[in-house]
């Protein structure tokens, strides 16, 4: 009988981090980082106080160097107007959805209701010059030109999961910065409780406007605290490039814990208001689309379950759909926003 004796450099079972925890290490680090950001503590302060930053910032020997700054669309694709962006600890390390699918499978009804309509028609939209009017319950209402928006805050690459209300999902490397950076510039008043986002609507450039699927222009909204959350991004690019028109150029919202339709595209107006805005999908089908529309596997859409999702490019003929995560996997960061709320009622 062979009896194994432990050598000096072998770990005891009790010393090994359980695999479950080890696999969640990035999540844990990330929630620590978000917590710090949420409290208004800067990353450097967090680092100084000994809160570990993810390995992306300090690559291990032999690890891939951070690639965000040099990520580009595939050869022959994209605008060529590359944006330099710093990697973010808030990024997921799941495999990216291909550029081809991210830019070819879109819901952007202003260009038509089929998934390939936006790619076919969005080139007709002129995205320069572009201004965004910021108004309403703010001390400093004003207009922002797109070039000004590109420079308003340091650009970050945020790799987020995107969950569409239709039951599919993607992983997209966005470029942008927290919407809070813009909001701070205009100084919301005490009356500002909600933020309304209005999408560009021009029948000459957008063939979908001739259909009465929705009331145009497309209007979406967030509660002010949702808009101020560090995960809420003002999106200006993807895959290292400026936003393709079909993805909501030149400036859009990215709210990763809500269904995709909450993330307004091609924004022309941001209005701070006291009352909850009437949003486009609620107006069209109030029993199907709520104001909050947080990703929630337990609350089914009237016509399909939201318990699972198909990751585009991964799940399909050869792999079943995967379980949908509460708040699209961002529960640690955002669940506190909805403490005490009945999420079944406030769907």
């Amino acid at each position: 009988m062979l009896i194994r004796s432990r050598s000096a450099n072998e770990a005891l079972a009790s010393e090994i981090t359980p695999k479950r925890l080890y696999l969640r290490r990035r999540e844990l680090l990330r929630s620590a980082a978000v917590g710090a950001a949420w409290l208004g503590v800067s990353r450097s302060a967090a680092a100084a106080s000994g809160i570990a930053t993810p390995s992306r910032d300090a690559p291990l020997p032999g690890a891939q160097p951070p690639s965000a700054g040099v990520r580009t669309p595939p050869p022959g694709e994209g605008s060529g107007q590359l944006l330099a962006a710093a990697p973010s600890p808030l990024s997921t390390d799941e495999p990216l959805t291909s550029y081809h699918d991210v830019t070819g499978y879109n819901n952007f009804y202003e260009f038509g209701t089929d998934k390939d309509d936006p790619q076919r028609h969005a080139h007709r939209m002129s995205v320069r010059p572009w201004t965004v009017v910021v108004e309403g319950e703010v001390a400093k209402a004003r207009m922002f030109g797109i070039d000004e928006l590109l420079k308003l805050a340091p650009l970050e690459e945020r790799i987020y999961r995107l969950r569409c209300v239709e039951g599919w999902s993607m992983v997209i490397p966005w470029i942008g910065y927290p919407l809070s950076a813009l909001i701070r510039q205009v100084e919301p008043t005490g009356n500002a409780r909600f933020v309304e986002f209005v999408t560009h609507a021009d029948g000459e450039q957008m063939p979908g406007l001739s259909s009465r699927v929705l009331a145009w222009p497309y209007v979406e909204g967030l509660r002010l605290d949702e808009a101020m959350h560090p995960l809420t991004l003002l999106g200006l690019g993807l895959y290292g490039d400026v936003l393709p028109n079909q993805n909501g150029a030149p400036v859009r919202l990215v709210v990763p814990w809500k269904y995709g339709f909450k993330s307004s595209k091609s924004i022309v107006r941001i209005r701070f208001v006291e009352k909850q805005p009437m949003t486009a999908w609620r107006r069209a089908a109030p029993h199907e689309y709520g104001f909050y529309s947080n990703v929630n596997p337990e609350v089914a859409h009237p016509r399909w379950s939201q318990a699972t999702e198909r990751r585009i490019g991964e799940d399909g003929f050869f792999r079943p759909k995967r379980p949908t995560l509460m708040f699209n996997g961002y529960a640690d960061q955002v669940a506190s926003l909805y403490a005490g709320m009945d999420l079944r009622k406030n769907f």
Partner: protein
């Protein structure tokens, strides 16, 4: 009816399926291939249903009674594409998760009505053989009038599926076609010839 017509139409009715295979192997099913094949097979089931319903009005208009010999083939193709549609639902959509499927069928009206339509098609397909037609006699006609219920149910399935998107153009077109084909049966026509039976060899039964 020329001898080549029926085999030709049989081949044409298989083109939508062949197209899916070609697109699948060429990577042409788009970013969400399962959604593509689900919608494609569903749409073609409805198209075949419309063609089946068109046989009788066409025959009455043209007086070309031999057309009735194509009706069973198109009816069975409608059932065939509906079965493919359902198989995709069972396999690729739910991966045989019975609980999830039952929830879909019982809780979501658009799935319920689609599933019921398929169930109602089963006895029609099962009694489509010559032997069954002879055995059922007049009852066969009564039973096969179920298609007048099935077709509107399938349109409703499509309509409710599109409801959340407020995008009713396509289901409205199919709805009008089905309504037109059903109403065409109410228009009285002078019967100059003996009404044909589903089997040209069986005489004396009524349409």
């Amino acid at each position: 009816m020329p001898a080549w017509l029926k085999p030709l139409l049989f081949g044409l009715a298989l083109v939508p399926l062949a197209r899916l295979f070609v697109l699948g192997f060429a990577g042409g099913l788009g970013a969400n291939p399962v959604e593509f094949v689900t919608r494609s097979t569903g749409t073609w089931a409805l198209v075949m249903l419309c063609i089946t319903l068109a046989v009788t009005p066409l025959r009455r208009l043209s007086g070309w009674n031999a057309l009735v010999r194509l009706r069973r083939m198109f009816g069975l193709f409608a059932f065939f594409y509906a079965c493919l549609h359902f198989a995709i639902f069972v396999w690729l959509e739910h991966w045989f998760d019975l609980g999830a499927m039952l929830m879909d069928v019982f809780e979501r009206p658009f799935v319920t009505v689609g599933f019921l339509a398929l169930l109602l098609m089963v006895p029609l397909a099962a009694t489509s053989t010559k032997a069954m037609i002879r055995r059922l006699g007049r009852n066969w006609q009564v039973l096969h009038r179920l298609i007048y219920v099935i077709a509107p149910m399938v349109v409703l399935h499509f309509w409710w599926h599109k409801a959340g998107k407020n995008d009713f153009v396509e289901p409205a077109i199919y709805g009008l076609v089905v309504a037109g084909l059903l109403l065409a049966r109410l228009v009285p026509v002078r019967r100059s010839r003996a009404p044909p039976s589903p089997l040209s060899t069986v005489r004396g039964s009524h349409d």
